[in-house]
């Protein structure tokens, strides 16, 4: 059974698969994997804001945009990615703080609206201020970073294995992803994670227990947004082309879809969700024009069957295996009074 194998073994196994995944694969497949890793990072950020802290945000794609454009502008001007990336992440952190401020006054759908407006505004600024952003032509040919013995811009042998530029950039994505995931894991397990959940569950009570809900709300936004920024700063060298429409509202909705399909509030949810949202359409491509139809039906069925997403399916299967009636522990024990 699942429980027989310890968690860390599963994680090690998963990592091993991710390490060998692009070997011997074509460029397209490698790039799809990169795309999966990038969106997973963005979705994990949103999962913190939405899944744990319960603050709805429809602006994650715009943070990817900010991260991507900052990275693009810096790296096109000769600054190394390793410097540009933290700059992008920090910038997104602070912009996230700002976007979080309305969340102190409004909740739920109003907050959705404010973040939606922010996303629209970012996209329009990117398109209209062409002196900086290249307007609707976007920015292209961003350099891929060179890490001395590991130059992602060129193909070469690493440890005796011939790696293409795309494969190397995949490993950059993978390393970033692993580091980010580890940080997130620590955060969620720390008392901060509990505070985020408290904010989601009952903010008034949380406040009366000494939790500074304002600070927690802002942090939830800022950290989540920084995740978006990190994803964006990967996108710039991976895709080597960015333009405003790639960050439009529909893409924020897509990231939301990843979070919920995977299972909001589950640590591994975004990884599964991003895999489904990005990889499933690829598998369905052979159905030609019908793939989006099939895909949307699949999502509806999943949501109807398991509202807590793919992670919830696991729970449901486990509970199917259990006996039909469960007598709760305390109900079986003898009288306690």
């Amino acid at each position: 059974m699942m429980n027989a194998i310890p968690k860390w073994l599963w994680i090690a196994l998963g990592l091993a698969v991710l390490i060998v995944a692009p070997i011997g694969q074509g460029n397209y497949f490698t790039l799809i994997l990169c795309s999966w890793l990038m969106f997973t990072i963005a979705a994990m950020g949103l999962n913190l804001t939405l899944g744990y802290a319960g603050q709805i945000s429809l602006a994650q794609a715009s943070f990817m945009a900010v991260g991507a454009y900052i990275t693009a502008l810096l790296t096109l001007n000769g600054i190394h990615w390793i410097v540009a990336m933290p700059a992008a992440v920090v910038a997104c952190f602070f912009i996230g703080l700002l976007v979080g401020f309305p969340a102190l006054r409004v909740k739920g759908h109003f907050l959705a609206f404010v973040t939606l407006a922010f996303n629209t505004l970012v996209v329009l600024v990117l398109r209209n201020e062409d002196w900086l952003t290249g307007g609707s032509y976007g920015k292209f040919n961003m350099p891929r970073p060179d890490f001395w013995i590991f130059n992602t811009a060129r193909k070469s042998d690493v440890l005796g294995i011939a790696l293409s530029s795309n494969q190397k950039i995949y490993y950059l994505c993978l390393i970033t992803f692993v580091v980010f995931a580890a940080l997130m894991y620590g955060l969620i397990r720390s008392p901060w994670g509990r505070a985020f959940k408290g904010l989601r569950e009952n903010p008034i009570r949380a406040e009366s227990l000494g939790l500074d809900t304002r600070r927690i709300t802002l942090l939830a936004f800022a950290i989540g947004s920084a995740g978006g920024g990190l994803a964006g700063s990967l996108m710039s060298p991976v895709v080597q082309f960015i333009e405003p429409n790639s960050f439009a509202l529909v893409h924020s909705l897509r990231i939301l879809l990843m979070v919920v399909v995977g299972g909001a509030g589950y640590f591994f949810g975004p990884m599964l969700g991003a895999a489904v949202v990005i990889l499933l359409p690829e598998f369905l491509r052979f159905t030609q024009g019908y793939y989006l139809i099939l895909y949307s039906v699949a999502v509806i069925i999943l949501m109807v069957y398991s509202p807590s997403g793919l992670m919830g399916i696991g729970d449901r299967i486990l509970s199917k295996l259990r006996p039909q009636r469960v007598v709760r522990g305390d109900m079986k024990e003898g009288a306690q009074l």
Binding site: S35, G138, F241, Y291
Partner: protein
């Protein structure tokens, strides 16, 4: 090998679906004809379709995929914003790409593997300058354009031309792709006192614009490039389209035998009328055929070299529909038409010679 793999990367969903679908259908029609007559250098065309969803990044990944899967040529994309991105991939891999896009900057990149099926706005719009200046005698013009890659390219060329011609642009009104409500745009144009309006929008937006202009009784002449007088626009706008004028590089209603034959074949195959994107797709497929045969080998680099500076006569190469030449940047030239809508019909006026 006795098959030739083609990667058709086009907009089959999303906002560009109408254009992409037409391009595809035109290309498939041509491919069917080509295969029936023995293929290209004895190889049958084997076409894989890739739907970009009108998303540039997806299109880039899909061009990569098509190349991974061994495509000899890439056909598409139609939307300039996608082409500008994915053409880099094809260029790196040395795969010729035959695009339906018209944005000026596509052939300005110095990419030796890109070829157009219809010339860029920077060649089409100047053909209108004389019309504004001499025929209409306009002093003040307004321009309504769609604020994306396609519209911005055209808009910039147009504004430059007007400046050269000494005509004032008194209202400069961008709108979003897919915009539905043109009340404010038209009200501004009316208020600006322009004698003529240059309408550079996609088909459906053109139709909505024409309707609103007719509702608000705009007196100024409405002039377009390619789209404004398309059959689709006329169908959608109804009476409101009457009087609109456009310079058109390709139209299924051109009074030429080759076009009539094409139109009949397309209608037979698909039960609907083709538009200029269908023509582009059709021509694009034949470019692959004729270019390869001219090169004398199924070789991507030779193909590209051959295409640069190539001129084809429609009499010998009927699939090309009109006498056409390509220059070193992949830009093309061929004759074009002025069309006016009268009583819901496209009336082809003078033919503008190739430039």
């Amino acid at each position: 090998a006795d098959t030739m793999k083609i990667g058709m990367v086009v907009e089959l969903s999303g906002g560009g679906a109408p254009a992409g679908t037409n391009f595809r259908d035109g290309a498939l029609l041509a491919a069917k004809e080509i295969n029936a007559s023995g293929g290209v250098m004895g190889q049958q065309l084997e076409i894989s379709e890739y739907d970009t969803g009108t998303d540039p990044q997806t299109s880039r990944a899909l061009v990569q995929k098509a190349i991974d899967e061994g495509a000899y040529n890439i056909w598409g994309t139609v939307y300039s914003s996608s082409t500008i991105v994915n053409m880099m991939v094809a260029q790196q891999a040395g795969v010729p790409q035959i695009t339906g896009s018209e944005a000026p900057n596509i052939t300005a990149q110095g990419n030796p593997y890109i070829f157009r099926t219809s010339y860029g706005a920077q060649k089409g719009i100047p053909a209108l300058t004389a019309y504004f200046k001499d025929t209409l005698g306009a002093k003040k013009v307004a321009v309504a354009w769609v604020n994306n890659e396609f519209g911005k390219g055209g808009h910039d060329v147009f504004v430059g031309e007007m400046k050269k011609a000494g005509i004032d642009v008194v209202a400069d009104i961008p709108s979003e792709a897919g915009a539905a409500d043109f009340a404010a745009d038209v009200a501004r144009i009316k208020d600006s006192g322009a004698d003529a309006v240059f309408v550079y929008l996609h088909e459906e937006e053109s139709a909505r614009f024409l309707r609103e202009a007719s509702k608000q009784a705009v007196q100024a002449k409405l002039v377009g490039e390619v789209t404004l007088t398309g059959q689709k626009v006329i169908d959608l706008a109804g009476d409101a389209a009457n009087g609109a004028v456009a310079h058109v590089g390709l139209t299924a209603d051109a009074p030429l035998e080759t076009f009539k034959t094409f139109k009949a074949a397309f209608e037979k195959e698909y039960n609907r009328a083709p538009d200029h994107n269908a023509l582009k797709g059709y021509i694009g497929a034949y470019i692959t055929k004729y270019g390869t045969e001219k090169a004398g080998a199924v070789d991507q680099e030779k193909f590209a070299n051959t295409m640069h500076g190539l001129c084809l006569k429609a009499a010998e190469y009927p699939g090309i529909l009109m006498d056409t030449c390509w220059d070193d940047s992949g830009e093309m030239s061929r004759p074009s038409f002025m069309i006016e809508v009268k009583d819901g019909k496209q009336v082809v006026g003078e033919t503008v010679p190739a430039n």
